[in-house]
Structure formats: C-alpha cells, structure tokens
Amino acid sequence: MATGERTWERPSVFPRREVKWAVYASVVGFFLWSGLGVGADPGRVARGLASAGSLLGDFFPPTATPRQAQRILDKMLESVAMATVATLTGIVVSVPVAFMAAENLSPRPLYAVNRGFISVSRAFNAIIVAIIAVKAIGFGPLAGILTITFKTVGFFSKLLAEDLEDIDMGSVDAVRAAGASSTQTLLYGVVPQIVPRFAGLSVYRWDINIRTSTVVGIVGAGGIGSVLLTAFNRYDYQYVTAILVAIVAVVLVAEGVSAVVRRRYQ
C-alpha cells in the first residue's frame, strides 16, 4: 500500500483525535478522584472482601423460628397489599395527570405544570418520599401507600402521556366532527386507542411497586422492610438471609405474574 494512499479509519463520535483523548483522560481522572473521595484504596477493599468470607458464615444458612417465619409472612402480605392498593390509587391519580401532560390534548401552561410534577415524582427515590410521608402522616402502611402512589404517578403518567401524544388524531377529529362533546371525544376518540397499553402498564407498575414496597419499611412506612432493618440491628444475620430469600421469591412471583398477564393481554 502506498504511503500517500488514504487509510480507512473507524467512524467516531469525536470530531478530532485530541478531543477523544481529552475526553478519555478526563473520564479516567474523574474516576480516580471519585476513588479518592470514597476512600476506595485497594487495601480497604481487600480487607472488606476478606471479612466478606468470614461474614458469609454468619449469613448462612438462612434460618427463622416459627414465630419469625409468621412475622415474615404477615409483613410480606402487608407489602403486597400496600403495592396493590397503591397501584390502583396511583393509576386513578395518573389518568388526569397524563391527559394534562400530553402535548396534543392539553393547553400549554397546564402541560408545563403536569410535566413538572412528573419530573419531581421521578427525581426522588421512594425512600426519600417515604421518610417524608412517615413524618407527615405517621408510621405504618398508609405512609407506604402514599409513597408508592406518588412514585406510580411519575412513571405511569409519563408513559401514558407519551402514548397519548402518539395517538391517531384523525379518529379524534372524526369523533369531534360527528358532533361529540369534549367528554365524548375523550371517551370514544382517545380512550379506545390507549386501553391495551394502559392494562399492560398497570400490571408492569404493580410488579415494580411490589419491589418498592419491600424497602419503604426501612424508614417506617410499613411492609417487610421494617422486619429486615430490625434483624440487621440485632445482628441476626441468618434471619436477615431468610427475609432476603422471601423478598427475592415474592419479587420473582410478581414478575412472573406480570409477564404472563402482559403477554396474554397484548
């Protein structure tokens, strides 16, 4: 190959090679700085991993006395119950929010307010919402329901609003042209187009809500999380493992149910 001939270069997202190396160098630098900030020196990590070996014996085998098993069952049912109720309340609140957050159906200011609400709901982790809900309305499953409802609205309205923005406005116009009132336009022009997605999303969110409901108890909002934290604080690690096994099992079952229902429906 002649030296003057052009050689093939892989296409790249970077405009120039210097830019590429600058980006790579700053990413590496950032990770090094993070490592220092977090205190992740190799010695400490090694000690941690070494203690992990001996701790494994403390965590295994999972054990629970009959009373503890009963407690796991009760609190796990409470988690599932919270998730189920909060899925319904979350969806009920989400529907108007979604309609108001859809660009093609909502006036501009209303659209902005509802988008803002969705961003706020999505930005805060469920634990943060839960800790505030607990302070506002007290310990127990009601705070959990409020938390999960709030989180559900951010997720559900966002996706539902996106579906609403994608609907065929032709059929909406047709219904309107036939002389339908605005309620009738919504009912016969918009709703039939989103019903299948709606059902799928509800079940999917229920499955996510079960996961969330297993941890909000850590800050006092009801469910299995409270049992987990107590077990940790008592250094009762084998009981901890038993609780974790129960959580993984319930999450798996919920995921399976949700997958089956969604496949059937769609």
Partner: protein, 264 residues
C-alpha cells in the same frame, strides 16, 4: 333490523368472561388488601391536611444550608460514578454467562440468570445494609452496594444485546485462529460497544438517584444530611436538600440523554 340478525361484538363469549374474571380478581385483590391493612376509611382523610401542613413548614427553603451540603453532594456523585464503574466490570462476565449464544453450558447459563435475578430483586438500600456490615459505614459501602445492584440491570440488558449479535463475525474471528480473549475483543465487543456505552450512561443516571438515599443506612452521600435534617425537624433545610437533589437529578438526566443521543 331483525332481532336475530348477528351483531358485531369485539370479543367472543370466552374472552368477555375472561376479562370480567380479571376485573373481579383485581377488585377483590384491592379490597382484600385494604381490609388486610386495617387502615379504615377515616385515616386517609387526614392526608391532605397533614401534607399541606408539612409543605408550609418547608417554605421558604433555608438558603444558608446550601454550603453544608456541597461536600455530601460531591460524595454522592462519586459513589454513583464508582458504583457504575464497578458494575460495568462485574456485568461483562455476567452478561456473557447469561446470553444463550456465549454461555459455555446450561449450568453457567442458569448461574448467569441467577446473578441477574438476585441483583435486581434486592433494592440498593438493602445491598447497602449488607455492605455496611462488611466495609463499615461510609461511602465505600455505598459504592459497592450501587455496583451490586447495577450488575443485574447491566447484565440482563447487555446479555440481551449479546444474544442479538451477528454470530457470523464471531465464527470468522474464531476461524482465523483467535483465542477466546481475542474472540471477545474482536468478534463480540465491537458489536455491543454502542449498547454498552449507552446502557452504562443510563445506569449511571439511575445510580445518581439511588445514591441519594444510601445515607439513611450509613453508606454515605447526601442522604446522611437529609436524614439528619428530617430527624431534627429542620423542614426548611430539608426543602433545600430536596431542591438540590432535584437539580442534580435533572442535570444528570439531560446529560445522560444528550450523551446517549451521541452514541446511538
């Protein structure tokens, strides 16, 4: 119109019954859940009043508190970054195990699936509880917790990408006499690289949100400050922390969306 004329119906009888049964099941589940928790109907009525009360206490946010949360905030960003890096390192082998076309045998396939499932089912805060026991409290435990939580996510999605690659290229590299390591580098990696970068950035963005709560169980970051402010009933400081978290999350989300747009 004659009465016995066939009418169009959207669903046949069996499907209508099925749908009805699902509705009943859903209603029973919700009502049963409500009864199980023994909340009653009067308690929820107090929610609007209590929440409004809390919001009035939070206003206006305490601006002076901003200086105290800069350092914990930086720590949160660092935890998320290191956690994502650690997850990436751990997720590549897990993804190779969990992908049907690259896993050596059925046992390794199920092992991959098991790791993915357990990692995803256990919430970040629970992972943090476990690693605080191992590493002591502090941001290191938080970073490791973030890494363990993200492995399932990255392993699952990366595994799905690997399952979709063009295996012809892998065969070609192997036929040219490449070692397993070389097959990985030249046959598989180039095909999943865009997905790998995109998924990592997406997960980093999620990890920023997750790392804001690690402080509740002693694993570092801004959660520590938030927890203190809440326990001291310093609601105006709480409002400041919440606003700062909101700002950071919005910034990282747009940064993540922009970068993913570049890679795609």
């Amino acid at each position: 119109m004659a009465v016995d004329e066939p009418r169009w119906r959207r669903f046949d009888r069996r499907r209508r019954l099925g749908r009805f049964a699902l509705w009943v099941l859903g209603a029973v589940a919700v009502v049963g859940s409500w009864e199980f928790m023994e909340i009653g109907v009067t308690n929820p009525g107090t929610i609007p009043r209590e929440v409004t009360d809390l919001l009035t206490r939070m206003y206006p946010p305490d601006v002076a508190y901003t200086g105290r949360i800069v350092d914990p905030l930086i720590e949160t960003v660092q935890i998320a970054a290191l956690g994502t890096l650690g997850a990436l390192v751990l997720a590549v082998p897990v993804a190779l195990l969990a992908a049907e076309n690259t896993t050596p045998n059925a046992v390794t396939f199920w092992l991959g699936k098991l790791i993915v499932t357990v990692s995803r089912s256990v919430n970040t805060i629970i992972w943090a509880l476990i690693f605080v026991v191992m590493f002591g409290s502090g941001p290191l435990a938080g970073a490791v917790a973030i890494a363990f939580r993200s492995v399932g996510f990255l392993g699952k999605l990366l595994g799905e990408e690997i399952e979709e690659i063009d295996f012809g290229q892998v065969e070609a590299v192997r036929a040219a006499g490449a070692s397993p390591g070389q097959i990985l580098l030249y046959g598989i990696l180039p095909q999943v690289k865009p997905a790998l970068v995109g998924l990592s950035i997406y997960r980093w963005d999620i990890n920023i949100r997750d790392s804001t709560v690690l402080g509740f169980v002693g694993a570092g970051g801004i959660g520590v400050q938030l927890f203190r402010a809440v326990n001291a009933f310093a609601w105006q400081s709480v409002a400041t922390v919440l606003l700062v978290i909101l700002g950071v999350v919005v910034v990282t989300e747009s940064l993540s969306a922009y970068t993913r747009g570049l890679v795609r």
